[in-house]
């Protein structure tokens, strides 16, 4: 017995008894490993906390796997089956009558919306971040813009949807469609991309900027050829994460895109109405017909795969860029 006084003191209390149980257990564990010696109190503490954090991680990741299991158990038949609207037809054909047809309209719609959102949102956010970080002096204005962006990033997406409807559809008269929906998603992307870009720019050491200026470069050349270039891996990661996020947004699209069983043929006006995967999933799951409920699950799997592809691209792109310049 090599217990400390401290431990003996605890023995009478509830905690002390628990302590004894734990340390006896720990001792046995070590004995199993072939080293028959009593664990010290600190070693036991270490083991207990290790188990605790492992449990926490398990709790954190479980919902994802439950969700995946659910989607697969219902939706996988659509992805791998060979009936009408299943397998290849699911992702390569437009919806038809009853069971026929897939969700190509939604896949194309989501792609178009995300492209519009990226084309509009990324230049605005990157330029904005460059202005804040490279040109504006630290002070109230900068703090106010950063605060504004942080608040925007926290606004619920349904509010962006309502804003898209009242501002773009009603006030500007753009109507529903791909442009309106894409712009609404762009509004959602801007705060995230701007802040991640700004963080990436902040990581660039000021000695690089000075080195460029000392060679006779203008501020403009220094910013774009040195600073932004050095920050590029971080900027690209930020953009692709934001893209992955808005891809799955439903709420901003409900009031702004309309819907379409075919493909959009324009950017504005009635011919620009588009379907999107989140919207399609939402409307199918609300439908009482069982085959549509299955279709909702398989569409969700398709969306997950698209987000996964964007994530893989994000990883690959930032690794490539990092390897090339660092």
């Amino acid at each position: 017995m090599n217990r400390t006084d401290d431990e003996r003191e605890r023995e009478g209390t509830q905690a002390g008894r628990l302590w004894t149980v734990l340390s006896e257990g720990g001792t046995r564990l070590v004995a199993l490993g072939g080293r028959a010696r009593r664990l010290t109190r600190r070693e036991v503490k270490d083991i207990v906390f290790k188990l605790l954090v492992a449990l926490m991680v398990l709790i954190v990741v479980t919902p994802f796997f439950l969700l995946l299991a659910r989607l697969l158990s219902v939706g996988l038949q659509d992805l791998v089956g060979s009936g009408p609207g299943q397998g290849w037809e699911l992702i390569a054909t437009l919806p038809g009558a009853a069971l026929r047809g897939g969700v190509l309209n939604a896949i194309v719609g989501t792609t178009v919306l995300v492209l519009v959102a990226t084309a509009v949102g990324v230049p605005l956010s990157v330029m904005g971040a460059v202005y804040i970080n490279e040109y504006s002096r630290p002070g109230r204005v900068r703090t106010a813009i950063e605060f504004g962006a942080d608040v925007l990033a926290g606004i619920p997406s349904i509010v962006f949807g309502a804003f898209g409807f009242t501002f773009l559809v009603a006030y500007l008269g753009l109507g529903l469609g791909a442009l309106t929906g894409g712009l609404t998603l762009a509004f959602m992307m801007i705060p995230t991309v701007m802040r991640t870009t700004q963080e990436a720019l902040k990581q660039v050491p000021s000695s690089l900027r000075e080195a460029s200026l000392a060679l006779g470069a203008t501020k403009w050349a220094t910013t774009w050829r040195v600073t932004v270039r050095a920050a590029l891996p971080g900027i690209v990661t930020g953009i692709l994460l934001a893209v992955g996020r808005v891809m799955g947004e439903t709420a901003p699209l409900i009031f702004t895109t309309g819907n379409n069983l075919g493909l959009p043929t324009g950017l504005v006006g009635p011919e620009s109405w588009v379907a999107s995967l989140p919207f399609t999933i939402w409307s199918y799951i609300m439908d009482p017909r069982p085959y549509l409920q299955v279709r909702a699950h398989s569409a969700a799997l398709v969306l997950l795969m698209m987000v996964l592809i964007v994530d893989i691209l994000a990883n690959y792109a930032s690794r490539r860029l990092t390897r090339r310049i660092v």
Binding site: P205, E210, A211, S212, A214, L215, G216
Partner: protein, 252 residues
């Protein structure tokens, strides 16, 4: 002979309310090394960065007096600061190569100033690397990232980069203080080589180094120019007690 001579006249600088340099008057001769030495915070770097107007970027910086470069005041309001910085190269305390390939580090400056011809750029890359005594070590890996080089190699690359735009003057802000002794020795040798072609102004708080490589030395203390003369004279017989205290290691 004194075509590129730099003269500093009655220079006073402030950062906000803080009076950093006080009535500095000195000059830097062609094809020689002038060491600016002094304890930390005495204004060495501020003086150096006033010569290529890098301090202009710092909010709250103010300056009175004049600095003449090749006969004209560099603080003239209509002076082209980009042209000035092209002709006064700078090497920093920590190696700071751009996160690009070795080659791109060296073509960055020339390209900025309008050189597009690939053969010309190729020639500049080799020339600058040879002058910085780095060519033999990196000639086979010009396209690999500059940050993969060792610290000492990176610093020599930064010297090569400064030389790539062909400046007659080279400012060096404690260029070896972040390096190991062997790399530092190589760069000191390099400085001695380079003074045949360039005017070098070297900031250092290392007295021994100043004595080893410089022809003239300026001793700054609390923003004042305490002593300015041939290095040999200062090393043997410092006039001011503060200089003596510094070179014998009692302040610093």
């Amino acid at each position: 002979m004194y075509e590129y001579r730099i003269e500093v006249k009655d220079l006073n600088t402030w950062f906000g309310e803080k009076h950093v340099l006080k009535n500095i008057t000195c000059y830097f001769e062609d094809n020689s090394v002038t060491a600016i030495m002094g304890p930390s915070g005495c204004g060495k770097s501020t003086l150096l960065r006033s010569i290529n107007r890098l301090n202009d970027l710092i909010p709250g910086f103010r300056l009175t007096g004049q600095i003449f470069f090749a006969g004209s005041n560099i603080y003239d309001p209509d002076r082209n600061v980009y042209e000035l910085r092209k002709r006064i190269g700078m090497v920093f305390q920590r190696p700071n190569p751009f996160p690009m390939s070795i080659r791109e580090n060296l073509t960055f400056g020339p390209r900025l100033h309008g050189i597009k011809d690939e053969d010309e750029l190729e020639r500049i890359v080799e020339d600058s690397l040879r002058k910085a005594a780095l060519w033999d070590e990196v000639r086979d890996q010009l396209d690999s990232p500059a940050v993969h080089l060792s610290g000492g190699q990176q610093q020599r690359l930064c010297i090569a980069r400064a030389l790539s735009v062909d400046p007659p003057v080279l400012l060096m802000d404690e260029p070896v203080s972040a390096l190991d002794p062997i790399s530092a020795g190589k760069i000191e040798d390099l400085i001695v080589q380079l003074k045949k072609e360039y005017t070098i102004i070297l900031v250092t708080h290392n007295v021994q180094q100043a004595f080893r490589v410089s022809d003239q030395a300026a001793f700054l203390y609390m923003g004042e120019l305490v002593e300015f003369d041939k290095t040999k004279r200062i090393a043997v017989a410092p006039e001011d007690p503060r200089t003596e205290a510094f070179i014998t290691g009692r302040i610093g």
